[in-house]
């Protein structure tokens, strides 16, 4: 397996895991409040719709769009998307933005769903539970679909990307089934930083290659870019933390 394939699999797995944690928080809130049957039906339908999207759009991208153009466009999209993730992770790590609090999201969902009224009769489908679980999984999953399609089709390895995403769904789903309401323990910001670094690295590599850059060492450039961007991110977080501490001290003095 080449270094690019390894980074591709890790990037898709981590991105899917992060989105799965967010979706799982919503599903757990629905299941606990309204019952698991309709919540799991919503999850099942959302996963089928997302899988159909990948199956329909993936091969079309790979077979009908020229690789050079695909790499420029997808590289640019990944660059923007990855930088958005990385920026958010930097601001959270340096204390300028509140960390994603799964416990708070869980509590908010539970109170919203409790206010919706009583659960329907045992055998009837709970439309509220179904809809909220479907929307939660579908919307979070849509980002995973975009990552699977962009990374998988550009690397001509859609199968590996889909398997990595599927593995994340199984692993996070399994862990979620055990811990259910303790999702706040997941180091989400660290995962988000890792995914952001990989997306930005892939974005730089592919858009550059599509535009005519010949990277030294070819695919080996990707881990080098991950390291370079990782170092820059670490320095940026350290600098922002110091600046925040100095501002807080100055306001106290």
């Amino acid at each position: 397996m080449s270094s690019a394939s390894i980074v591709l699999a890790v990037a898709v797995f981590l991105a899917s895991a992060v989105e799965m944690v967010e979706a799982l928080t919503i599903v757990a809130a629905v299941g606990v409040t309204r019952g698991w049957r309709s919540a799991l039906e919503g999850v099942g339908v959302a996963i089928v719709v997302l899988a159909v999207l990948v199956a329909a759009l993936g091969p079309a991208l790979v077979h009908f769009v020229p690789l050079g153009a695909l790499r420029i466009v997808i590289g640019a999209v990944l660059l923007v998307f990855g930088l958005q993730w990385l920026r958010k992770a930097v601001l959270r790590a340096s204390g300028y933005k509140a960390k994603h609090d799964e416990d708070a999201i869980f509590a908010k969902q539970v109170s919203l769903l409790s206010a919706e009224g009583p659960e329907p009769q045992r055998r009837a489908r709970d439309t509220t539970a179904f809809t909220v679980a479907f929307k939660g999984v579908f919307l979070e999953g849509l980002e995973v679909v975009i990552i699977v399609l962009t990374l998988g089709s550009t690397a001509h390895n859609l199968g590996l990307a889909a398997v990595a995403a599927g593995a994340a769904v199984v692993v996070v789903g399994g862990i979620g089934a055990v811990v259910a309401r303790q999702l706040a323990g997941v180091p989400e910001n660290a995962l988000k930083t890792a995914v952001g670094l990989m997306l930005v690295s892939f974005g730089t590599f592919w858009s550059g290659e599509g535009l005519g850059i010949h990277w030294p060492g070819s695919d080996l450039t990707i881990p080098v870019l991950v390291g370079l961007y990782g170092l820059a991110t670490w320095l940026l977080v350290a600098g922002l933390r110091r600046s925040r501490t100095r501002t807080a001290e100055a306001s106290l003095a």
Partner: protein, 79 residues
């Protein structure tokens, strides 16, 4: 006729929703990242066109890092 008008309206709404999804996805509340990406691509195109491919190898990641720093500083001010 009313059926055709309904179809046209559905198509228009779908297109608007599709456009809004991509706008939120790529631009959202960080337009500087989208504009910055266009600048990075533009500079690389220029360097490759001028025959400075080797320079582009260093310039592209440097511009991406500058973009991350600039956008994070902007985010800090808004926090």
């Amino acid at each position: 006729m009313p059926e055709q008008a309904g179809d046209a309206s559905l198509v228009r709404r779908s297109l608007v929703a599709f456009g809004r999804f991509w706008w939120d996805f790529l631009v959202g509340d960080t337009p500087e990242l989208f504009v910055g990406m266009l600048v990075v691509v533009g500079v690389v195109v220029l360097l490759v066109h001028l025959g400075a491919r080797d320079a582009a190898i260093g310039v592209a990641p440097a511009l991406v890092i500058a973009l991350l720093v600039g956008s994070s500083l902007r985010g800090r001010q808004g926090a």
